[in-house]
């Protein structure tokens, strides 16, 4: 019934990689080796998109999610007409404005005023239209005072603001947005979102490529999830985002598990921490101690006693240590420490602090600590495990060698999430959040 703004039929994009040994070939070498024609014809290929079909009805907001390198930006470039699909058809109806890189066409030497004029024309306005909208654009970018200064004197925020202001005032029928809302301060981001909201109300079509899943859930009518250039799922934002989160969690699981496999055997050495996070100076990973008692294996187990490295708040996490004493030992303490990715202590305890009396340890044994209710906010956590004497002399100390991740749909902040409940009384009305189960990370469905 409704008109389609974007229609993709079996779209594929194959990037032709020219036969580069070095990054830049030279004409000289091409002539010498007689490979001029060969060098201008494609060598190996790289498939960025394959068999992608979808429709975006006019007036709807369409989200595209996926990991880095999944083909999102390629898809956007195809929709913008910057590149053409290798196979399949892709039609976009109506005037397009693509917010792929803000202020991409700005020339640093000339003033903001002149750049607005040229950028506007570049994006498809006439000179007249630019003049008519000029004041509005400048006001939106909040750059009245600087509009006559060369843009090379602008801060990157000012630059992006002006770029966004021009692009949004082109008044497109189809607006393509690629992860550009991350620029500028909070207030400006707010303003951009408001403007996008206004676009939605006015019945414009918006295609949003983003990593911000919250934004997708909030704004989009329909979501496409790309995985390695193919359509993994499409449909209701909540459902697709959930599926995507579960998939990503699975991927992280594999990554963290990989990390575990690398627990070093030898003297203290550096081990890569959880992906993407940096530990601060004071907290360095390593392993040390006399090994009279050795921690031979550390496992993180879920409530079904299966190894897992991604948890949701409130789940049970069991830390299981396989230990071994070559000679019988009577002075021993086992402890654990929990740290955030940037090395801030979250919690630490040991058997001595909790007043267990060490008796005797001989040969292999197992020590388990169950955290029945993991009340942590989303994030990556590092784990210390140790066996030492009562006076602190280490037998085997593993610092930050293990990590796990807590994933949550609720983006609360801090470290600790106490059990809590909101209640309201009097002249206040809030609608309850729709009940949604936390992500189920058990991988047996």
């Amino acid at each position: 019934m409704s008109v389609l703004a974007v229609e993709a039929r079996d779209v594929a994009k194959v990037y032709r990689r020219f036969l580069h040994k070095n990054q830049f070939r030279t004409l000289k070498s091409a002539l010498v080796s007689g490979s001029l024609l060969a060098d201008l014809s494609p060598g190996e290929t790289f498939t960025a998109l394959e068999g992608v079909s979808f429709e975006v009805p006019a007036g709807s907001t369409f989200g595209v999610i996926g990991e880095n390198g999944s083909g999102k930006s390629t898809l956007l470039k195809l929709m913008a007409g910057i590149t053409r699909p290798t196979r399949g058809t892709l039609t976009v109806r109506g005037r397009i404005s693509a917010l792929i890189e803000l202020g991409a066409g700005f020339h640093p030497e000339i003033s903001g005023r002149e750049n607005v004029a040229i950028n506007g024309i570049m994006l498809g306005l006439t000179r007249r239209q630019v003049e008519e909208r000029f004041d509005e654009i400048v006001a939106f970018a909040e750059l009245e005072r600087f509009i006559d200064a060369p843009v090379k004197t602008y801060s990157s925020g000012m630059y992006a603001r002006l770029g966004f202001a021009v692009a949004i005032h082109v008044d497109p029928e189809v607006l393509l947005i690629d992860e550009v809302l991350a620029v500028g301060d909070e207030a400006f981001t707010r303003k951009c979102l408001d403007k996008i909201g206004e676009f939605r109300r006015r019945g414009k079509t918006i295609v949003l490529v983003t990593h911000s899943l919250g934004l997708v859930e909030k704004m989009c009518d329909d979501v496409l999830w790309l995985r390695q250039g193919r359509k993994a799922d499409q449909g209701d934002p909540k459902r697709v985002v959930d599926a995507y989160l579960t998939y990503v969690a699975g991927g992280e699981e594999a990554l963290l598990a990989l990390d575990h496999g690398k627990a070093p055997e030898g003297a203290p050495e550096e081990v890569p921490s959880a992906p993407g996070e940096e530990t601060t100076q004071g907290y360095r990973e390593g392993r040390w101690g006399g090994r009279e008692v050795e921690i031979t294996q550390v496992r993180l187990l879920d409530d079904r006693d299966r190894p897992r490295h991604v948890y949701t708040p409130g789940e049970r996490l069991t830390i299981a240590l396989d230990v071994r004493a070559a000679q019988p030992v009577e002075d021993f303490v086992f402890g654990i420490g929990l740290f955030t990715a940037d090395g801030v202590s979250v919690y630490g305890t040991n058997t001595h602090l909790e007043e267990f009396e060490a008796g005797r340890l001989d040969g292999p044994a197992e020590v388990r600590l169950a955290l029945d209710d993991l009340r942590l906010v989303e994030g990556t956590y590092l784990l210390d495990v140790a066996a030492h004497r009562r006076d602190g002399t280490p037998y085997d100390y593993h610092r930050g060698l293990y990590s796990f991740r807590v994933k949550s749909r609720i983006k609360d902040v801090g470290v600790y999430r106490p059990a809590h409940r909101w209640s309201f009384a009097g002249g206040i009305r809030l609608s309850e959040p729709r009940p949604r189960p936390e992500i189920d990370l058990h991988d047996d469905e």
Partner: protein
């Protein structure tokens, strides 16, 4: 080729703004500003003027007097030709951001380069005209005819600029090779000397294959000599120019898809 000309016409407002921007940006922030555009030809003019006035006086033929004026009539179009090609070799790489991020026909960029340099030449023409007038060499009858070689040159330069800009994306060393090539080309074009004055038959035959020969000679004739006898040669150049333009348009279109990926 027709389609490309149509695209260029459609993007005319953009091209006009970009040429304006290019001219403004070029001189903003420099002390001499706009006069920079004269300095390069002026320096050449003075250098060769001294050489040919004091050292190589003997090689000058009567049709080259006053020598500086004769030289100026050739060096202006040559500067347009040379700067356009030298600059267009890097223009797609420099404008990579535009090609990759904005829906934008890439051929606009070399075209803007060529037109910017054309405008610079046009700005220098009144100065030349003033000097011609001073020496009483301004020929009102043939002066408007200068538009003919200008048009032929425009087509030729556009074609070459399309070829050079698209190929440089794939072969970066074209930029440096081009510098040397243009240097040789300069001496193979009758800018310093008069085509009519060449005594060696072989050399004359050779120079006839250079399309720029006829263009420059036509400039010299219409501006300086007050004649337009060389139109046959110019017509041949025009044919070559059209072929080069068609070739450039075809090649650029062929490589278009690879441009956004390679720059």
């Amino acid at each position: 080729m027709i389609a490309q000309v149509r695209t260029l016409v459609r993007y005319r407002p953009l091209i006009v703004s970009l040429v304006g921007r290019e001219l403004k940006a070029r001189y903003r922030g420099s002390v001499l500003g706009f006069f920079w555009s004269f300095i390069n030809p002026l320096l050449l003019l003075v250098t060769y003027g001294i050489v040919f006035t004091y050292m190589l006086r003997a090689v000058r033929t009567p049709d080259m007097e006053p020598y500086l004026l004769f030289f100026a009539c050739g060096i202006l179009p040559w500067t347009w030709f040379q700067s356009s090609l030298a600059e267009s070799s890097g223009v797609l790489i420099a404008g990579g951001n535009l090609i990759k991020k904005v829906l934008f026909p890439a051929e606009v960029l070399p075209v803007v380069t060529v037109l910017t340099n054309l405008v610079q030449m046009l700005l220098a023409l009144p100065v030349l005209a003033a000097f011609l007038l001073y020496h009483d060499r301004l020929h009102p009858t043939t002066l408007p005819l200068v538009l003919v070689p200008m048009l032929v040159q425009l087509v030729l330069v556009l074609g070459l600029a399309l070829i050079v800009s698209a190929l440089t994306v794939h072969f970066r060393d074209i930029q440096s090779i081009l510098g040397h090539l243009l240097h040789i080309w300069f001496f193979a074009t009758p800018v310093l000397y008069s085509y009519e004055g060449i005594t060696s038959r072989t050399m004359r035959q050779l120079l006839r294959f250079n399309p720029m020969t006829h263009v420059v000679v036509a400039y010299q004739e219409t501006l300086f000599q007050g004649t337009f006898r060389h139109w046959r040669g110019l017509a041949a150049s025009a044919v070559v120019a059209l072929v080069v333009f068609a070739l450039g348009a075809w090649l650029f279109d062929r490589l278009r898809d690879t441009l956004a990926e390679e720059v």
